[in-house]
Amino acid sequence: MSDVNVLVLTGYGLNCDHETAHAFTLAGAVSTRVHINALIDRDVTLDGFHILVFGGGFSWGDDHGAGVVQAVRMKTHLGEAIEHFIQSGKLVIGICNGFQTLVNMGLLPGFDNDYRSRKVALIHNDCGNFRDDWVNLKVNGKSPCVFTQGMDTMEYPVRHGEGKFYAEPDVMKLLTEQNQIALRYALGNGTPANGKFPENPNGSVNDIAGICDQTGRVFGLMPHPEAYSHAVNHPAWTRHKELAIRAGKPLDAFETPGIRLFRNGVNYIRNSIL
């Protein structure tokens, strides 16, 4: 079986690179952390890779808008290479700061193959502060998003100060109609959070936590699936474990929803490209 090669960006204040690479490895890929400048200087090219990851962090300190400067730098030096990467059927995922970068580059929402226009924004949380908390998420089953296929609800942590999704009504309409809204903040029972804090942690319009392009191959989300790569990452894992023991259930290792999301991407490449 050929390797699925994942490139995880590092440098300039990005900081989730190690755990994101680790999570993709658990999902069956071969992941490499590559400094943004190594790509720009062409010491490394995108050619051999199948999945490009814009990970979490504070690129350029989040000064002048989260993800803004990273987007400018990537677009200036690698814009065409990345568009070519997408057109050739490969996957791009942006997590948190990576999602902020994708929308500022215009890779999302990518209406009608326009991967250059800024149509949506991720702005300061309504709560006025950075917030770390776990959220319930609901997948839009009709979305073409490759990464969320077969998933329905899950919990991941959010950790951001600028995660409020915003777009004008005409853009919202298109996103909705084209099922590009892949992931929404939800209540514990899976119904939409309807703006309720803290279930919707940032005031995102329409509870949006993640969107994809029309192909489903470019995906951005604020929550951190890579932070749920081990059962003990879940805030209630000690309860889950004790209740399972009492119920006489085996304590088998299970694939966390975080790894599951990445495995969807890895499997897609296996089935479509390799």
Binding site: N15, W60, D63, R73, F130, T238, R239
Partner: protein, 1002 residues
């Protein structure tokens, strides 16, 4: 050309920053503001074409979806407008990032002298707001005079064409760098010169310094370099090295300790050696997991066979008291450089915080530099940006309110790192400098920042403390440097590394040159932020985000290649030698030439008189109380007290899961809203091993006896670790002493002798506990002079000193994180145990404090007795015998039974009659059982099926079945000793009390 770009959110979008200010103005000053809209200002002082200005405006600074911008003043309506910008020379992180980004988009270089500056203006509307209100807002909430400037504009005075004008806070030093010399003709002359220059040389050190420079062979030696009298560079070097901050003169001093009741006097020759170094070395020999202690920037313990972990703790008190945000961010970013500079460099894996401040709602007459509320807001935000932007989780911390911190607040920051045990086959914890090695400065540049910071933190805070030592840390620059250094380490390019913190190059190079026995530094090579710095300023500047890295000459090309890749500035500034000389030149001319062994010249030890008076002699006694009747209200009121209640508002601002290794989070339980005992992280993602970490602070016990304050603090930190499943045989400690001035002075410090005795006793306790629990001290620091002179309403000043405070941090490995434990009850029908006896220990307790009393019966630790139960509990957790574990800490059972019940969202019935009581039966009373703070205790829940095994394991160790876990809709019911119901509290009422105080803070 200068252009000023104004950027705002589109008017229909919510402005959370403006909204935050509106709310704060209401909460702080009762000001009724209708709305606040913020405008970001980017002032570009650079020679760009019009097209280029427009390109950066559109592509970089304006989000077309949400923002509007203009090079003309925007027309946002207001009644009042406040502009806030930095003062010259203050670090403008966003301005620097803007320069990087502009260079990138336009593919050009911003020239020396050109720059980008960021500032803000706030457009405020509201009826009846006055100019005075605006000055209050600007000076109390928006700008700190030390680093920022502001202007207030009224609607009428606003010139819509001119706007705020052009404010360019550019540093202009019209100064030619000059080396000056100081006369050593007499002690008096040198002392006067030293004081004039703020050198803070101690009178006792001056004859030693003079003696050195007057020696014939020294004079002859110096003549060969064209030197006569000592230069300012040399004296600054000596002053830095001799400061209490660098040299720990207090802990290495002589203490004459007299117990007034017995009249016995004992001379302590060196507290550090006797109570810290010796026990730690003894334990290092005994514990094979201890890798490196007592010399490097941080201590090192073994994590697993391939990795070691690194830990250290610091305080950043004085700067935080002047500029809370800047001081705290500089503190946390600074402590992160310690593990990075330990061994050959370690990756940062977590940080923690401790804030000690006065009452947040203080409204008394004495005015600290910053009101406690503003100070706390600032330090919380500083640690937030410093930790989050560094990509390092902050999963633990504590906040303690006590009136003594009005004089000076405390900001503790702790850092843990992880490193491979070997680099290219060599142990990573060993490093040395050798003749011919290159000295490089990596990271930030040098400015006038922080000059005399080290000496200022060794002095009592007063109006005359130089403000120039306040800085703003830059986690972004440091994160780039962190990633770069780890890559260079892994390629085996680094032979020595240390950070530039207190004392700057003077400390980092001075100390590392002791290993090779000499160095030659060329100061003109040091990259500067701006021209005009004197040589001595370059040498001692504390500009942040810099490491001193040592490499072999043959590694230079590769090292610089990596440096460029990571966009980090690195510069060769000298070489190590073995000449026995610290040699500094500036453009070839010598400005310092001193013997490396000058600092071992026999400087006199500091001396202190210490007089111990027992609490009884000091007139302390137990308050006379009868049992309360309304326990429900009492318990709820105590759950709501500032030092007990939920600090979720702070924990959630801190990223505690980045790096993906989170196991036990700061908030746990069914609704993840109750503070956990300790944090557990998995720093190596491919391993199931974990690292547990906890901290404790119990300053109120110092009001009775700092010996017991210290033992209880350490016991609490240890129990916190045990509660989450740590291995009791692998606990390491970090001591952080924060003490008021202990040097007796009949007028200025009349109780200095008592405070000195408290320090001696605390050190004795530290050793006693470390030996009993076998805790080597992996690291530690002391910060003295926790005093402040506050202005009162009549213009008088009053000295306010903090209680003697020690923060103790503890770390330990958890062999398998899958066995880690949390505090929440898990299932109805489980049995509730209290492990450990309860005694009459209400002195200094939360309950007495609530009643406005201190008391006498301070809790006492029986460490040799407790250690057996801790080991048994560790076994019980590891073998799955228990369902939940929680230590009994401040507030006693009355606080910690509710914590367990709230976390599990289940009821609980507890029978006080079954609690084991230690001491006379006549003292046994239900309120004492509930509020006593006897250490050594835990609340444990156990499944009925495990009862027999559990009780067998704890046979003879004081585990007592005292109650049962009840259902989801049941309350916490406390049955009195006579069988009557004392309290009945629903989970929701307890949560309301626990959370309401700070619940809405954002």
């Amino acid at each position: 050309m200068q252009k000023r770009l104004e950027i705002r959110l589109k008017p229909h979008l919510n402005d959370p920053e403006g909204e935050g200010l509106r709310k704060k103005a209401g909460a702080y000053f009762g000001m009724a503001i209708e709305s606040v809209r913020t405008i970001q200002i980017v002032t570009l002082d650079a020679d760009l074409t019009d097209a280029q200005f427009i390109q950066v405006k559109d592509d970089l600074f304006t989000n077309p979806v949400t923002q509007e911008s203009s090079f003309e003043p925007l027309s946002t309506p207001f009644d009042w407008c406040i502009w806030v910008g930095f003062r010259p020379g203050v670090r403008d992180n966003a301005g620097s990032t803007a320069v990087e980004a502009i260079e990138d988009i336009l593919d050009l270089k911003i020239r020396d002298g050109e720059a980008v500056y960021t500032s803000k203006r706030y457009c405020i509307t509201g009826e009846g707001l006055t100019e005075e209100d605006m000055v209050t807002l600007a000076s109390q909430l928006l700008a700190n005079d030390i680093i920022q400037q502001y202007s207030v504009f009224s609607k009428d005075a606003w010139d819509s064409a001119k706007g705020v004008g052009f404010r360019i806070p550019k540093v202009k030093l019209d100064h030619t760098p000059t080396v000056s010399t100081m006369s050593v003709e007499s002690d008096e002359v040198l002392k006067t010169l030293s004081d004039e220059r703020n050198l803070a040389l101690r009178a006792q050190d001056i004859p030693v310094i003079r003696n050195y420079f007057l020696r014939d062979e020294v004079k002859k030696d110096r003549e060969t370099m064209g030197l006569t009298d000592p230069t300012d560079v040399e004296l600054e070097y000596i002053s830095q090295s001799r400061s209490d901050h660098c040299n720990h003169n207090t802990f290495q001093g002589i203490f004459r300790y007299t117990d007034i009741s017995t009249g016995e006097t004992l001379v302590e020759n060196n507290l550090f050696k006797t109570y810290i170094k010796e026990p730690t070395l003894y334990l290092k020999d005994k514990k094979d997991w201890v890798v490196s202690v007592l010399w490097d920037n941080a201590g090192i313990g073994r994590f697993d066979e391939n990795h070691n972990y690194v830990i250290t703790g610091e305080t950043h008190n004085s700067p935080s008291n002047m500029e809370a945000y800047g001081g705290a961010i500089t503190g946390i970013v600074g402590v992160y450089r310690d593990p990075l500079g330990t061994g050959l460099g370690s990756k940062l894996v977590m940080g923690s915080y401790g804030f000690c401040v006065a009452d947040r709602d203080y409204n008394g007459d004495y005015q600290p530099n910053l009101h406690p509320r503003r100070l706390l807001d600032g330090v919380i935000e500083g640690v937030k940006d410093g930790g989050n932007k560094s990509g390092i989780p902050t999963p633990f911390g504590q906040i303690y309110f006590e009136k003594g911190y009005l004089g000076k607040s405390l900001v503790f920051v702790t850092a843990l790192g992880i490193m491979p045990a070997t680099v290219n086959g060599k142990p990573s914890h060993e490093k040395r400098t050798t003749r011919g090695d290159l000295i490089l400065m990596c990271g930030g540049r040098v400015g006038k920042d922080g000059i005399h910071g080290v000496t200022a933190s060794s002095e009592v805070f007063s109006e005359n403390t130089p403000a120039g030592h306040v800085q703003i840390g830059d986690p972004y620059t440091q994160k780039k440097m962190h990633d770069f250094i780890l890559e260079a380490r892994d390629e085996d390019l680094i032979v020595f590394i240390t950070d530039n913190g207190g004392g700057g190059l003077s400390s980092s190079i001075g100390e590392s040159a002791e290993i090779s026995n000499g160095c030659h530094v060329e100061l003109e090579k040091v990259p500067l932020k701006y021209d005009g710095l004197d040589q001595w300023e370059i040498w001692i500047s504390e500009s942040q985000e810099r490491m001193t890295v040592v490499i072999r000459p043959e590694s230079l090309n590769r090292f610089m290649e990596l440096s460029r890749k990571h966009a980090v500035e690195s510069t060769v500034i000298g070489t190590y030698t073995d000449t026995g000389k610290l040699h500094i030149t500036y453009h070839g001319k010598t400005c310092a030439y001193v013997n490396m062994d000058l600092l071992s010249e026999g400087f006199p030890q500091w001396e202190f008189d210490a007089e111990w008076q027992t609490p009884e002699r000091r007139g302390l006694f137990e308050p006379v109380t009868r049992e309360p009747k309304d326990y429900n209200r009492l318990i709820l009121d105590i759950l709501n007290r500032p030092n007990i209640c939920s600090k979720e508002w702070v924990s959630r601002q801190y990223d505690h899961e980045v790096q993906g290794g989170s196991v036990i989070k700061p908030l746990m339980g069914k609704e993840r809203d109750v503070a956990s005992d300790a944090s557990v992280v998995r720093p190596v993602l491919t391993s199931e091993r974990g690292l547990a970490f906890s901290q404790a602070l119990l300053p109120t016990y110092s009001a009775i006896d700092a010996y017991h304050m210290t033992t209880c603090t350490i016991d609490e930190a240890v129990r916190r670790l045990i509660a989450v499943g740590a291995d009791p045989d692998q606990i390491g400690g970090v001591d952080n002493f924060c003490w008021p001035d202990i040097q007796f002075h009949p007028e200025n410090n009349p109780d200095g002798k008592f405070k000195a005795a408290q320090l001696v006793r605390s050190c004795r306790a530290l050793k006693d506990m470390c030996m009993a629990y076998e805790i080597p001290l992996l690291s530690g620091k002391d910060s003295m002079y926790v005093d402040g002179h506050l202005k009162g309403r009549y213009g008088e000043t009053l000295k306010v000193s903090a209680l003697e405070t020690m923060q103790f941090s503890a770390s330990a490995v958890i062999t398998d994180v899958n066995h880690a434990m949390s505090l929440d009850t898990k299932m109805e029908g489980d049995l509730v145990y209290v492990l450990g006896e309860t005694a009459d220990h209400l002195g200094g307790s939360e309950y007495y404090e609530h009643l406005g009393k201190v008391g006498l019966n301070v809790p006492q630790v029986k460490a040799a007795h407790y250690i057996h139960r801790y080991k048994a509990l560790a076994r019980a957790i590891e073998t799955g015998l228990v369902a939940s574990v929680h230590g009994v800490y401040r507030g006693g059972l009355a606080v910690h039974l509710p914590m367990v019940a709230m976390a599990g969202c289940l009821g609980m019935t507890v029978r006080l009659a079954d609690i084991l009581w230690e001491g006379e039966d006549v003292k046994r009373r239900d309120d004492r059982i509930l509020f006593s703070e006897t250490p050594g205790r835990f609340i444990i829940t156990v499944a009925p099926s495990k009862k027999a095994d559990f009780e067998k394991l704890f046979s003879g160790l004081g585990a007592k079945h005292v109650g049962d876990v009840t259902g989801e809709n049941d309350a916490l019911v406390i049955m009195g000793s006579n069988g009557e119901m004392k309290a009945e509290l629903t989970v929701s009422s307890m949560k309301q009390a626990y959370k309401k105080r700070f619940g809405d803070e954002r």
